[in-house]
């Protein structure tokens, strides 16, 4: 069940914490010894830990705010997009989470979404306007369930810890390699004596090797965690919605677009539901991508016809991948309650034309820019710009007068 997955996730957090931490300390020690063979190693270690500490503190206390600000997300109230608000609340209820995540909309036409928040109490879900325009209700529900699963499974905490380790390692290697260019080498030469020379050369080789390999290793570890989290979030999402086809067709739709999310970058990419940066014309290799191949995720979801619990997802995963790989921790698989699929589509599955989609996205952008929307009882929608000065407005169709004070 969910709670055991959280426990497993916390254990895994500690494991990665130690693994990447050791790498960080090793790098600090080698770089330090390179500059001062006598006691520089410990100073280097100290610096590495302080750097990581500062990065972690910043990301722990301000991480979600920074992420939301960088991505250009804007917090919205229920009336901006009632359906999104409702779907988030539905998933909160399904996950039995006591806190409602804050809802943000990103004014971008590329369909994508992410979740943030170290603790469920101050979590947030951000969705792009393009996503809201392209998806129907069931698909949106699947996407929101996926994001809600990241929150429930404490994935954000795990990714933040791993991300900051990666950041510290990359930063130190960068500084080190640059200092080699600008005179680091000369200092080494002046200090080298006859008996220390041999050891110095070895330390130098190790330091350079670590400077090159360290960030790559850390990055691969980070990406490996990220991919596993995505599968797990898919599995949890299906368990929440009881409807794998919703998420599957959402993934199909959003993978069909080739728009890049303008506000995303390499660091924030793993937070999104699909990779926001598509390298056009380049085959993304398996090891170095933050997300599993989207077609594979879709195929797994589509082949879940027996039931929707975690064991069903694992079976479908093995079947599609053709190999055994642990996605769901063993504790999650004991949840052997037979959970059937939702039999009916609960919501509207309207066929939307491209024009309607564009209008919907346009409306959303207007709402984000403080336009006032009034539903007249004759059935049409009035869109009032924020700089409209009069106190009331007359409906052009039926002539009803709407007061603008409320």
């Amino acid at each position: 069940m969910m709670w055991e997955l959280i426990a497993a996730n916390k254990r895994k957090s500690i494991f990665i914490f130690i693994g990447m931490g050791l790498l960080l300390i090793l790098i600090g020690f080698t770089f330090g010894s390179f500059y001062s063979p006598d006691n520089g190693g410990f100073i280097g270690m100290f610096f590495a830990l302080v750097l990581w500490g500062i990065l972690s503190m910043v990301s722990y206390f301000a991480g979600s705010k920074i992420l939301l600000a960088v991505s250009g997300a804007k917090e919205v109230t229920q009336d901006v997009h009632p359906q999104l608000y409702n779907v988030v609340e539905e998933m909160r209820i399904a996950a039995n989470l006591p806190y409602q995540p804050k809802i943000y909309i990103i004014a971008d036409a590329a369909p994508n979404a992410f979740a943030t928040g170290i603790k469920p109490e101050n979590s947030a879900i951000a969705v792009t306007a393009g996503m809201l325009g392209t998806l129907n209700r069931d698909e949106l529900q699947g996407v929101v369930a996926h994001e809600m699963s990241h929150i429930v499974n404490r994935d954000v905490l795990l990714m933040t810890i791993a991300g900051m380790m990666l950041g510290a390692i990359t930063l130190m290697s960068e500084v080190f390699t640059r200092s080699l260019w600008f005179g680091g080498g000369s200092r080494y030469k002046s200090k080298s004596s006859d008996k220390g020379g041999q050891a110095q050369i070895i330390i130098m080789i190790v330091a350079i090797a670590l400077a090159i390999l360290g960030p790559i290793m850390a990055q691969l570890m980070y990406f490996a965690i990220s991919r596993k989290r995505e599968y797990l979030a898919d599995a949890s999402a299906v368990r929440l919605t009881r409807y794998p086809d919703g998420l599957a067709s959402a993934l199909e739709k959003i993978s069909g677009t080739n728009l890049d999310l303008k506000t995303a970058n390499k660091v924030t990419a793993p937070m999104y539901i699909i990779n926001p940066l598509k390298k056009k014309g380049m085959q993304i290799s398996n090891l170095s991508s933050t997300h599993p191949p989207i077609t594979e995720r879709i195929n797994i979801l589509r082949s879940m016809t027996q039931g929707v619990n975690f064991a069903n997802y694992q079976t479908a995963f093995n079947q599609i991948k053709g190999r055994q790989s642990v996605i769901i921790p063993q504790s999650g698989l004991t949840d052997n309650a037979k959970i059937g699929l939702r039999s009916t589509e609960l919501s509207q599955t309207s066929f939307e034309t491209g024009k309607q989609v564009k209008r919907e996205v346009g409306d959303l952008m207007m709402k984000l820019n403080d336009f006032l929307f009034i539903n007249c009882s004759c059935g049409i929608k009035l869109k009032v710009p924020p700089d409209f000065k009069a106190n009331s407005i007359t409906c052009p169709k039926c002539g009803r007068i709407h007061s603008l004070f409320n």
Binding site: M1, M2, P82, E90, I93, N96, T344, G379
Partner: protein, 185 residues
């Protein structure tokens, strides 16, 4: 002396272990209660939405008087019901009647284009979803809680402090089970 200290230490560790199991059982029972109250909240919200819905469709749907009367009737039955069984039955009938209304909406293109109605329809759809998700979450919680009560070693603590297994929320009413396979569009 050393032996005695080790003995004390073991007792203390076991004590802490039992306390932590007890606390987790209490926490789980509270989650079950919370999940149950969510169902109630959503059922009440549906009752509040219905007058608005009927108001919105009244002008359009001239020929569906019977369905609308039924909705009103079942709503007040559900609100007045005192026992859980009566309430469940009335809620089931109410769901069925609302489903019939949805089918009929198909015949009124003007109604389907009305923004007010669309907004209400979204609210109603969402409330229906919330009811079923709340029920689903409640059953998940109950399953987890009951498993804990039956399994070793938490069953010892559960027995000592008489934690009782909770009941699943099953849908008994037929009308509720057969939510019509119809979509708005």
């Amino acid at each position: 002396m050393a032996f005695f200290l080790v003995f004390i230490a073991i007792i203390v560790v076991i004590g802490f272990y039992f306390v932590s199991i007890y606390n987790s059982l209490i926490g789980l029972r509270n989650r079950v209660k919370n999940a149950w109250s969510q169902i109630d909240v959503q059922l009440k919200r549906r009752h509040d939405l219905i007058p608005n819905l009927l108001e919105a469709v009244k002008g359009y749907m001239k020929h569906e008087r019977e369905i609308m009367e039924n909705i009103t009737k079942y709503r007040s039955q559900a609100m007045d019901a005192s026992s859980v069984g009566d309430k469940a039955a009335a809620e089931g009938l109410l769901s069925g009647a609302l489903g019939q209304l949805r089918v009929q909406v198909e015949n009124y293109p003007d109604l389907k284009a009305n923004q007010n109605f669309l907004a209400l329809q979204e609210e109603l759809t969402s409330t229906e979803n919330k009811i079923s998700f709340a029920r689903q979450a409640y059953n998940d919680q109950v399953l987890f809680f009951n498993n804990k009560i039956q399994m070793f070693p938490s069953n010892i603590i559960a027995g000592m402090f008489s934690f009782k297994e909770e009941e699943f929320f099953e849908i008994e009413d037929k009308a509720e089970k057969e939510v019509p396979k119809v979509s708005f569009s």
